[in-house]
């Protein structure tokens, strides 16, 4: 696109608008930057909620101590496992749902509204609901398994199965989000393209494989971005079901930070964990965003 020349009146308007928007922008900047910086400062102190006035600056002491805490590495591993599982399961599943929902049919609108129902349930409530269903003794899930002749599972009660169980709940809750975004992407693909392919004799699978999926790229990245950043920070489902247990099987960095602050009153150490999580989140979503921008650039370069 050739650069557009701006005339004087347009420029003047921009300047007025600029000044007008400056104040709210500064306020917003302050509101987001101040907590961030104060949190960063806290992570460099030994601040405890109950020790009034006794806060000392400890430099990177909290971070050094974290690196020497085996639980931190367990929690870091758990955070990454949780996130990886969430994305690896929910993206293909969401895509499958989206493709199915894109097929015109009489029940299409019914299925579309049913699909979003889990999204209306707060994660804590979903967690508690699933916790009840996953109870090894009286839970309905093991009852259903028994009808199929499958042995009862310990679900959330055993370190070996707890992680996959919470990921399952997350999947139930958030796959619809993935499906909705991907469905929107599918519907933005112009009908002429698929019709033309069909007329040329492409099979439905070829249409999906060769036309829809490549055009869906930005949407897939968007879903990945949403799910990665949410999963890294996920707290509600885990806290409502296992509170990080059994043992430390589902103790993610966020759960660890929460307990450090609100069970043990240690604000300094909690903030240090939060900043590790922030850095992780920033790095991963930054990578995804860079991928997205490259994709966009390529698309408009055509």
């Amino acid at each position: 696109m050739p650069p557009r020349r701006q005339d004087a009146s347009e420029n003047g308007l921009a300047r007025g608008t600029f000044l007008l928007l400056l104040a709210p922008a500064l306020i917003l900047l302050f509101l987001s930057l101040y907590p961030f910086l104060s949190g960063l400062y806290t992570s460099l102190t030994d601040q405890k909620l109950y020790a009034a006035g006794g806060t000392r600056f400890v430099g990177f002491g909290n971070f050094v101590r974290l690196a020497g805490t085996p639980l931190f590495w367990t929690a870091l591993g758990n955070t990454l496992t949780y996130t990886a599982l969430v994305v690896a399961i929910q993206l293909p599943l969401g895509l499958a749902f989206a493709l199915l929902l894109d097929i015109p049919g009489r029940l299409q609108s019914f299925f579309r509204s049913v699909l979003v129902l889990p999204l209306l349930i707060p994660p804590v409530v979903a967690g508690l609901m699933w916790k009840t269903m996953m109870q090894p003794q009286q839970g309905v899930l093991n009852y259903l398994l028994s009808l199929l002749g499958i042995d009862p599972q310990p679900w959330l009660a055993n370190p070996a199965t707890a992680m996959i169980s919470v990921v399952l709940i997350d999947t139930w809750l958030f796959t619809p989000l993935a499906a909705i975004i991907l469905l929107a992407g599918l519907q933005s693909i112009s009908v002429e393209l698929t019709e033309a392919a069909r007329v040329d004799g492409a099979s439905p699978w070829q249409i999906v494989r060769r036309i829809k999926l490549p055009l869906l790229g930005p949407y897939v990245l968007l879903v990945a971005l949403f799910r990665v950043s949410d999963a890294l920070k996920s707290l509600e489902i885990i806290y409502a079901t296992t509170r990080g247990g059994p043992l430390n099987a589902t103790r993610t960095l966020h759960v660890m930070a929460y307990e450090e602050a609100y069970r043990w009153s240690n604000l300094g150490r909690a903030m240090a964990i939060v900043f590790v999580l922030w850095a992780l989140c920033y790095a991963i979503s930054g990578t995804l965003l860079a991928l997205w921008q490259r994709q966009e650039a390529r698309r408009y370069a055509r």
Binding site: L49, A51, P136, T242, S265
Partner: protein, 460 residues
Amino acid sequence: MPLNAGAPRPNLFAAGLFAATLAASTALAPLPAAAEVNWRAAEGSTINLLLISHPFVDSLKPLLPEFTEKTGIKVTFEELAEQPGFEKLLADLSSKTGSYDVFMTSPLNNWQYATGGWLEPLDDYIADTKLTAADYDLADFIPGVLASGRWTLEPLKGVGEGKLWALPINFESYQLAYRPSLMKKLGLEVPKTYADLLAMADKLKTDGPNGPVNGIITRFDHYWDLPYLTFGTMLQSYGVEMLDADGKLQVCSPASIQATEDFITLIKKASPPDAGAFTWDQAMQGFASGQYVMSFNEANLFAPVYEDPKQSSISDDVGYAPTPLGPDGKRAAAAWIWSLSMNSAAKNKTAAWLFLEWVTSKDISVKTALAGNMNPVRTSVWDDPKVTALMESWGETPGQYVAAAKTEAEVAALRFPPHPELTRMLDRWAEAIQQSYFGQGDVKTNLCAAQDDIQAMIAP
């Protein structure tokens, strides 16, 4: 530095609970008329409470209009489960916003809250004859239970001395609860010792009308209440206290290792596979729903729930016994004391005090006890004919619950050093027990690693 050297251990209940009954009956003699208390001193104000879900709260709610009528003070409250409740309380107290004027707490929590300066000392209010009725009678409280609310603010010592930070509203100790019909069917006697219990662990299972009935249930998650209360009672009966007389940590002493190994064996043999995640409410509901032969070392104040046909399917088939004896034939027990404290940032302290006074008065204590607030912390309530009649009816035979509760109360004490971060230390201890249960390392290694970490928390 020795941690607790020379500090006398506050023996909270020993020779306290029922010996005190005598002393208290003399204290009940009418006192000379003092200045009238003006119950309407804070008329028109509102106080906000933070209540943690508990039978006490259920017993209190219907009585609140009575308080408002008497004092003209409006009472609002938030009722939350234990975990979110304490977290919300911590957020409020530490920010000193004073959203809650009065809140439910315990000595363990107060060791941190008092250190933070978030609690209002109550001694001056009690001494003020314009605010505290002459018949309030502080001496009527079980001495050890009341003393648990005092602390000098010195880490690792001074419980029972210093200022009064809380008033008790009930206390729990621990007991065995069992199903007489099932024990009979299995041909088993109620165990007297941990050795007896371990010997029968394999046999404790049977079939019920709704499927298999498991052996025992007890709370078992990775939090402080495990070494502090239920398994704590077992540990203490094995002679283990967190600190010994010289102030040395006993987390991985031979007796502690033995107790932990026995506990894990017991759970593995007689509890279902998901036993490693049970919280206290699951333990209570599980036993009340008839799925277990025995409830092991659980809170004795669950008895009103077990006895209530509306909440329990075993109300006509439940018995109580004291917790088992340790290897040396000794019994010791933990204690949990629900208390009420006043926020030092409370907006209307007079109103808050009038509420505290009213709710812990003899009259209201009897009413809450009759509505399920167990166990009473006033001797006059233990002696109240209606309360006695109610408690006498609990158990396989009349008086069984009271007998077990008294046996336990005689050996119940807070055998832990006061410290603002005690919960963190106990959480670490509980983690070591869980690691061993889930087969991650042996008991000794896990407990000794926990002990090292706890030592670092005490003296960083």
